[in-house]
């Protein structure tokens, strides 16, 4: 894809770096490694033209500089508003189908009160209160398959559990969880123009419709759930708009449902191919917290985020101009040798491990504590209950691209049958 008109900045280091061609994790990681070592900040004409920031130092600096690099949706990335579909939106999906995400797409000062709500709902103490629900759903979903000796661990566990925990918390009816979870999971592995692609987009549109319906219902008569709290939040004494209410519920659902899925799936692939790491985690379960951080570093679910430059800003010796687009790579920062010795190795007890898997700066993923808790319970129970699982390698399917999210669509496993716990 090329830019609609050449907006290449004079004197910029120019690279040909088209993220939409990143079809396999290994290829994507290799492309980032090369870019990071040669041009840690560079301009690429691909996807409408954007700066790409790829080493740890500059990624951290860019994430922290919210004054210069804004998150508000850029009108040029919205085809209906005069933008081009070739332009890279904030995430990998065609932007016309994505509902607003609040507060990720707000900048200060508007961002602040919405961020407070999410920080409060998802602070470490609040996540501790969700622990029994997390444990219950992991136990139940493993119970459902444990006597059979086989399952697709993605749909059973790594997609199923975050779906159940988050959608129960939001107050969506249980008979819709599977369909809602699958919709976000499939949309994350969406291939534009494919036969299944249209079906996935239709399903995603259905989830947005359900969010709108629930928000309407709880604004009329609130329930005791998180959707009701988000939909009726008061900012400066006035209830937030219907549009922002749906944006918050969309944020909670799309942020919560398929992201933990990605890193938990990655961990189960990793432990299949690296039996020594599996053995150590089984024999030394106290390593699990450090291992979780290392899984996050090596396999960060969110690979890139977009920003818009609002004032001319120097970054890494380049002048980023007002209105330029900027792609910041969490995954590349996480793999930067300058920040992580032996960065290409999985070091099970790595410390310190100041990875960027949850982003940095004011938009740091507020669900990070919940993500860690769900991931830890899944990992713990799999290693306790089906410790000898094997991935059916021929049927392991990666997402078809690794632009904004990475992950596995399907991971059939076999294991020695065990016993139910509930």
């Amino acid at each position: 894809m090329t830019a609609p008109e050449n907006n290449r900045p004079e004197g910029a280091p120019v690279v040909d770096f088209d993220l939409t061609t990143h079809n396999r994790m290994a290829d994507s990681n290799a492309a980032w490694a090369e870019l990071r070592s040669t041009n840690p900040v560079a301009w690429s004409d691909d996807n409408g033209g954007a700066w790409i920031v790829s080493n740890y130092e500059l990624v951290s600096a860019a994430f922290r500089n919210w004054e210069s690099f804004r998150s508000a949706r850029d009108v040029r990335t919205i085809p209906g508003a005069g933008g081009s579909p070739d332009l890279m939106p904030i995430n990998a999906l065609p932007v016309e189908t994505t509902s607003l995400m609040i507060p990720e797409e707000l900048d200060p000062p508007r961002w602040k009160p919405y961020r407070r709500v999410f920080a409060d709902l998802l602070r470490p103490r609040a996540v501790e209160e969700l622990a029994p629900r997390i444990k219950y759903w992991v136990t139940k979903y493993l119970d459902d398959v444990i006597e059979t000796g086989e399952c697709d661990i993605v749909s059973t566990l790594t997609s199923g559990v975050p779906g159940a925990v988050v959608l129960e918390w939001l107050g969506f009816p249980e008979d819709e969880w599977h369909r809602l979870g699958e919709a976000f999971h499939n949309a994350a592995s969406f291939v534009p123009g494919s036969e299944t692609g249209q079906h996935y987009m239709d399903e995603l549109e259905w989830t947005f419709e359900r969010i709108r319906e629930e928000v309407t219902a709880v604004r009329e008569s609130p329930r005791d759930d998180v959707t009701s709290r988000l939909a009726n939040i008061e900012i400066d004494g006035e209830r937030t708009s219907y549009e922002f209410a749906t944006g918050m519920v969309n944020m909670a659902m799309s942020g919560g449902v398929d992201t933990t899925t990605s890193v938990a799936s990655a961990a189960f692939v990793h432990l299949h191919y690296n039996p020594e790491d599996r053995r150590r985690l089984i024999e030394e379960p106290e390593l699990i917290d450090r291992a979780i951080e290392e899984f996050l570093r090596v396999y960060p679910p969110a690979r890139t985020h977009g920003r818009t430059v609002v004032e001319d800003t120097e970054l890494g010796g380049c002048l980023l101009r007002r209105d330029d687009r900027l792609i910041i790579s969490e995954v590349s920062a996480c793999h930067d040798e300058a920040a992580f010795p032996d960065a290409d190795k999985f070091v099970i007890d790595r410390f310190p491990n100041r990875h960027v898997a949850f982003g940095m700066g004011i938009h740091r993923c507020p669900g990070s504590h919940l993500a860690r808790a769900m991931f830890k319970e899944m990992l713990t129970q799999v290693l306790e209950r089906i410790p000898d699982y094997r991935v059916v390698e021929d049927e392991l399917e990666e997402y078809p691209h690794w632009v904004a999210l990475g992950g596995w669509s399907r991971m059939p496993i076999t294991f020695t049958p065990g016993t139910r716990r509930l």
Partner: protein
């Protein structure tokens, strides 16, 4: 020993709490906003690890001179 929190730098990752549960206290939204004035010697390791773990590098440990 004391630990100073750089104002406005903490973003609530809570890694200090994970490494130093007996040293660090988070506010009602899960952010670290208060300096630790006097770290007892037996908690010095927790304090150092907590500061080292912070992705925002918001914490500075000041060792006793």
């Amino acid at each position: 020993m004391k630990v100073i929190v750089q104002e406005g730098r903490c973003q609530g990752h809570a890694r200090c709490l994970a490494e130093g549960p007996d040293v660090y206290v988070l506010d009602e939204l899960g952010y670290n906003s208060t300096d630790v004035e006097d770290v007892p010697p037996h908690l010095a390791d927790q304090a150092r690890r907590g500061a080292l773990a912070c992705p925002e590098q918001a914490l500075t440990v000041v060792e006793d001179s």
